[in-house]
Structure formats: structure tokens, C-alpha cells
Symmetry: C2
């Protein structure tokens, strides 16, 4: 029997590739998504399709009303920026930042990992194309891991500690896409858009769509998703 | 205008006293409770009564289905232990431990604090009568604070850092009760029982009732709650 791992799965390119990496390494994968009041539920369906594709042991969706405190374009009534150039995207923390999101998601993964007696949590953060989110930096991940090892029964009882695995942390978006393609991720099942059209089609103009399209371009691969004609 | 603080409020003695301390210190208090699939919703009503009593700025309840991963007598179908003696209570981590609970709650408080631009989070943990929970230890709190300061916009932008305030950490239950009484906490509005009767009356036999009753006894105060006749 393999070791268990909890994988945080949003249904985007990064988390889907991370799940594929955890499977490739031989872990029994338990994937976890969040219904946190994001504007569109489409990414939850996509996450489940990816979980099915990779035959995970179990996939759960945690409901969590982050709208109760708002503060982000993804959960509040703040417009999603469109058609920004690379310089604008790379400067400062965007309005699509959800306060403390990775901390909240990792904490819930920690709770499930403790219940499952899984010692590994996989998170698809990336320090290169990270759009300025503070909770995607390596020093943050290290501090979370230290806190987590003190938070749990295992920490008290001197058993093995929780490891936060971030296999994408030093990869560019293009490298992530190549890696995912090698490992069998069907990018047609993934979702990146912050603000899809009513039909579900990605907008092609938000920061997330622009980073995705640039990544496919740099990887010399074709994005299987459709976008509106320009 | 005073400084803002987020206070984690379960409606028990410790969190209610902590809220009273935050008010006494002059903070504008934003209180936060969790509907996390605990067996009884009574403590959520009690928490709201305490928030009303102390006229907080805002009280929110975050819904969160921790039952999705189970693993605790408080969220799963595991019996709550009764009539244990002090030695049994003080040994090991009880089945009422909810995996990573304080980490999950603090993470959500961190998200709200960031939205409110509050720099202080109050948590009523206690290292003395802490019943063996790993996430009530001072070294855990310190590690959380360090992680939190790296997780947020403020951490990136070099602004003031988040402070996790734990004013009860070195007090006994009796000292907490005395402090709360001085600051006007109506203990008749608080709730401690892990397994109340159908009428809502506290059982008087679970670890939490036993610690509460011992605390009132040591403080030479009368617990205003009623308990079943022995």
C-alpha cells in the first residue's frame, strides 16, 4: 500500500499538474476542492473531472462561505481586471487575491490529512508566475509547515511530521504545462478564467487567461480550450 | 477611533472572557463563530448572545462542513467520554479533539482580519487546562503568528504584522472565570458541554462540563447553569 497524500485541487493547470505529479510519485491521492463563494462553480466541476481522470481514492468538496468577509474580486462585487499588460500583471497584489486563501485551504487540508493519517499535502503554488500573491512564496510555505508540525497530534506524539509538497514552486507556467502534458493531464478539463462568459467559455482577457495563454505559447503547445474571437 | 480586533468566539467561558478582555482594552471587536458540523447548534446561539451583550461591531458565523472529513467526537459518530477522572482527562489527546481546528479557525480569522485591516486576532486558548490539545500550546501560537505575517499583503508590503493575542494562555480555569466575572461576562449565556441533553441542559459529565464545574468551584463562584440532578 502506498503512502497517502492530500492534494489541493482547484481544477486549474497548476493544481491538476500537481495531482498528476503526486500520482506519478506513487501516492494514494485524496483530493480536496473548496466551494468558497467564488463567482463561478464551473471550476468545481472541472476539479471533479480531473479527480476522476486520475482515479483518486476520494475527492471531497468543502463548503465555506468566504463571502461572509469579502475583500476579493473573486468573492466580492469588485470587477475583475481585463487586458492588462505583463508589467501591470506583475506589479503589486491584484484584486483577485482572496485574503489568506492558501492559509485557509492548507489548514483544511491539514485537518483532513490528520484524519487520514496522511503525512503529505500537495499544493500547486508557484513562485515565478505567482501574480504577486504573498501566500505563494517559499518562505511562507516553510513557515506553514513548521506551524503545522506543531498543530497536530503527530507533532505532540513525536511521530512523522506533515510535509507540504510544492513541486511547481520553481517552474515557469510553460514548464508546468509541459510537465502536465507529459503526465497525461487533459488541459481541456482544466479551468483558469476568473470571469467566464455565461456559456462557460473562458474570457481570454483576465490575468489568469493571459498567463495561461502565454504559458501554452511559450511551451509550443495548443491550449485545447476555446476563447471568444478577437 | 479604536483599533480593530477579530475575536474567535465559541460561546464558551474562555472565548467569552477573551472577548471581554479585548473590549476592555479598547478594541473595536469583530467576533467570529463557526458552524462546522458540531453536534449541537446551541453554542452558536450562545455566542451570538455574548456578542450582543458586549455590543461588538459585527458578529459573523462562517459555515464550514468539517464533517466532510470527520475524525472527532464533536463532528463524527464517536461517543463523547463521560465521568472521567482528572487523571484520565489530563492524559493524551481526547477524542473530542477536532483535527487542526485552531489552525482552521485562526486562518479564517486571518482572512477576515486582512479584509478589515485589523492587526489583532484574539484567541481564548489556554495552556494550563488545555486538555492535551496540541494547538493550544504557546509554541504553536508563535509559529502561527510567524506564518501569518508572511501570508498576508501586510507581510509583503512591510506594514504592521498580524498579532495573535492569547490573554488566557497562562491562566487556570478558576482565574479565567474570576476575570470574566469582573469584566461582566454573564456565564449564564455561555456554553461548555460537549454533549447537552435534548432540552439543551448541560450533561455535567463530559470533560468540558467537569473542567467548568471544577473551575467555578476553585473560583468560589456559583455556575449559573443548571445541571441534571445526580
Amino acid at each position: 500500500m502506498g503512502l497517502k497524500a492530500v492534494v489541493l485541487l482547484s481544477g486549474g493547470i497548476d493544481s491538476s499538474t500537481t495531482l498528476a505529479i503526486a500520482k506519478k510519485k506513487g501516492f494514494l491521492v485524496y483530493s480536496m476542492s473548496f466551494d468558497y463563494g467564488q463567482r463561478h462553480a464551473l471550476e468545481l466541476e472541472k476539479a471533479r473531472s480531473i479527480a476522476d481522470l486520475f482515479k483518486v481514492e476520494k475527492h471531497i468538496v468543502i463548503k465555506l462561505n468566504l463571502r461572509a468577509f469579502g475583500g476579493s474580486a473573486l468573492t466580492d462585487n469588485i470587477p475583475v481586471p481585463k487586458d492588462r499588460n505583463e508589467e501591470a500583471i506583475s506589479q503589486g497584489i491584484p484584486v483577485t487575491y482572496v485574503p489568506a486563501r492558501n492559509t485557509i485551504f492548507l489548514s483544511l487540508a491539514l485537518g483532513w490529512a490528520e484524519t487520514l493519517q496522511a503525512e503529505n499535502i500537495f499544493l500547486g503554488v508557484n513562485a515565478i508566475d505567482y501574480s504577486g500573491y504573498p501566500d505563494c512564496r517559499p518562505e511562507y510555505i516553510k513557515a506553514f509547515q513548521k506551524m503545522a508540525s506543531l498543530a497536530t497530534k503527530a507533532g505532540v506524539e513525536g511521530k512523522a511530521k506533515i510535509k507540504i509538497q510544492t513541486p511547481l514552486i520553481n517552474l515557469t507556467k510553460a514548464e508546468i504545462i509541459k510537465k502536465g502534458a507529459e503526465l497525461g493531464v487533459d488541459f481541456g478539463l482544466t479551468h483558469s478564467c476568473y470571469d467566464p462568459l455565461a456559456s462557460g467559455m473562458s474570457c481570454g482577457k483576465c490575468d489568469s487567461c493571459l498567463l495561461r495563454l502565454k504559458g501554452f505559447n511559450m511551451a509550443n503547445l495548443k491550449d485545447p480550450l476555446e476563447y471568444p474571437a478577437k
